[in-house]
Symmetry: C2
Subunit: 388 residues, 2 copies
């Protein structure tokens, strides 16, 4: 099948493109490299050095003989979006191409507006391009478990059967997320469901948990195929950041009590989940939602797990929580859709964490330590991060 991966230069977009190519699909990637621009803005960089997208594709070709077509441009530029779909004519579009950090969206007004306008406009352009070019294209869209927030009832996969005053309906699962970034994904989900309804589009919304890990069977074939590994407080996800703190001999910084529970998954499961979604498309007109996570752990428990695996002593400290969120709450998530399609999860293990310690040690000299401290505070409306 022909699969276009939007955001194919990113932490997960790149390994997903490799995995789909390795599975025998015809793959093209598109990216505007704005993720690398955020690094320059924040004064940070991927802990693991990464090659240019063009070099990555060339190395992939030399290692495997397989071709990944590279398109450079921005989804908010409709000419680019339409042109790329017309040139590649995908069966499936995998859409990772959004600003994806909650703290980045909460820096100040400009970053909030940028995040929502960028994400919503890119997705709207894509929906219209599909509607006008080929309504049979399957859209596989990356959402986030953070869209749901932490309701006091079980979290279902996108839809909820409700009984109210003696009547029943199946409604979109009510969402109450915790940042302007997460809200942008809620806006996207509503827009996509509507496009399925009026134009008969087929879409899969993947509400993804927090991803950890840095290597997949494809990225380890050559150092130049590595994907990014973010350690900073803005783009670094929680387990990855704890690993780097441990290696640096820093305390692991838990926000608040650490009772916040998150759905998490291994990067190898991310690429497999996207593959399963692509190979088993949604029906015409169907807005299908999967909760893409394999287990739930509290942030405190994640920190303890990393500390237990590390050979030396590791301190865990609490920081005042820069976010506004419940720190102790109910959290029970249905995530059977992808398992039904064949996912066999990699659960968090000592082996995985130990291999991450090796990655972090090799590149520890690249860390800018101040970037590990949270400088974006939800209760404030402006946080001067650049002057950090």
């Amino acid at each position: 099948m022909r699969i276009l991966v939007l955001g194919g230069d990113g932490y997960l977009g790149w390994p997903t493109a490799l995995h789909l190519s390795q599975r025998g699909h015809e793959v093209a990637v598109a990216d505007n490299f704005v993720r690398r621009q955020y690094d320059l803005e924040m004064g940070v960089d991927s802990l693991v050095p990464i090659e240019s997208l063009q070099t990555r594709a060339e190395v992939w070709h030399s290692v495997t003989g397989k071709t990944i077509e590279v398109h450079v441009g921005d989804l908010t530029d409709a000419d680019f979006t339409y042109g790329t779909l017309r040139a590649f004519r995908p069966d499936t579009v995998v859409h990772f191409a959004e600003q994806r950090a909650a703290p980045y969206s909460m820096i100040d007004r400009k970053h909030a507006v940028y995040t929502q306008v960028n994400n919503v406009t890119g997705t709207l352009n894509l929906l219209y391009a599909i509607a006008e070019i080929d309504r049979d294209i399957h859209l596989v869209k990356l959402g986030t478990m953070g869209e749901y927030g932490t309701p006091n009832i079980d979290i279902e996969e996108g839809w909820l059967e409700v009984e109210h005053n003696g009547r029943r309906d199946r409604v979109l699962y009510p969402k109450r997320p915790g940042s302007f970034y997460h809200l942008s994904k809620v806006h996207d989900s509503h827009n996509i469901e509507f496009a399925c309804r009026i134009w008969g589009l087929r879409a899969t919304d993947l509400n993804q948990g927090v991803v950890y890990g840095q290597q997949t069977p494809e990225t380890v074939l050559d150092d130049r195929l590595a994907t990014r590994f973010d350690y900073d407080a803005v783009f670094g996800t929680v387990l990855n950041r704890f690993v780097i703190q441990a290696v640096l001999g820093h305390p692991l910084t838990v926000y608040g009590t650490g009772g916040q529970t998150r759905g998490i998954l291994d990067i190898r499961d991310t690429v497999r989940c996207v593959q399963l979604a692509c190979e088993n498309p949604a029906a015409a007109g169907e807005f299908r939602v999967f909760n893409q996570m394999t287990q739930s752990l509290s942030v405190r428990r994640i920190a303890e797990t990393v500390a237990e695996c590390f050979p030396n002593d590791v301190e865990i400290t609490r920081l005042d929580n820069p976010r506004v969120e419940r720190e102790e709450h109910y959290y029970n998530v249905t995530h059977t859709g992808l398992v039904d399609l064949g996912l066999v999860p990699h659960l968090l293990s000592d082996t995985l964490i130990t291999s991450l310690f090796d990655v972090a040690k090799r590149h520890a000299h690249r860390v800018r330590p101040r970037a590990l401290s949270p400088r974006v505070h939800w209760r404030q409306s402006t946080s001067p991060v650049q002057q950090s």
Copy 2:
């Protein structure tokens, strides 16, 4: 109290400003006049001639001795938004300043993106301006009953008590609206609820039904205080449009079976509802939602009511529905919040409709008949309206 009315040049913004001024509040209005620009784009105009905003304010002063301060600018320009709040220092901001027509948002990709970016960015700028200038300002935001769609369960006021698998929560009412315009309001509601949660803002979201009527006790004091009256298929709301069709001797055009049921209200109740919301502010941190409508009627029943009131014979015809919507559905809405604050509804009456016939007759020569036909089709992704 000091009240800033954003979108104060519009169909409802202007009569609301007058009503609040008449009640003794200190009122300022802001507008960018983009609503008048849409008329130029569509080749239509308000059936009732309207004066410039500055003239309107001068006439109001000469008639009543009361002052309405005029600010000209665009909410998506944050300098304007912040500057206006700093200059006027309102206690309450009433926010009508959004693109408000579903068909306009469904013309094509550009109009969809424009509607969502304009509405979401303006509201985000306003939320940040309140957070940074004075978190005690009460935001009264105009939403729409169309945000809910037509669920098979009772529609509550913004929140829903859910029991699921033996556990309970109070969640945001799940919404499934029918246009990119209505979706922009859903996005706004989610963003506003979040701002209340993280910054302790106080907000009232008014999910308004379809408004009919053109005169309030204040606008009739002088012809130059008239508000707009839209007859075209893009901006004309349903009852107003039927009245004009009847006066022109055209058939009343019902989309599909006409079983679509809508919450409706009299323009005199709109201005009273906004007043009640302003004078009874939400608590700090509260996201309060009222369903601002006074009765539910099917589109078919609205057409029949207009036809029964008209002195001559009136034909009712069905058009293929240009929208994608349920034409026969359950519709039962809770709307007690504003009644509890003191609203005494004007229910739809012969007298009101007869007075609208008079308004329409007086200006019937200004109608461009082709603009009455729907040219925006939901199932298509582009509709060439300008060439109509």
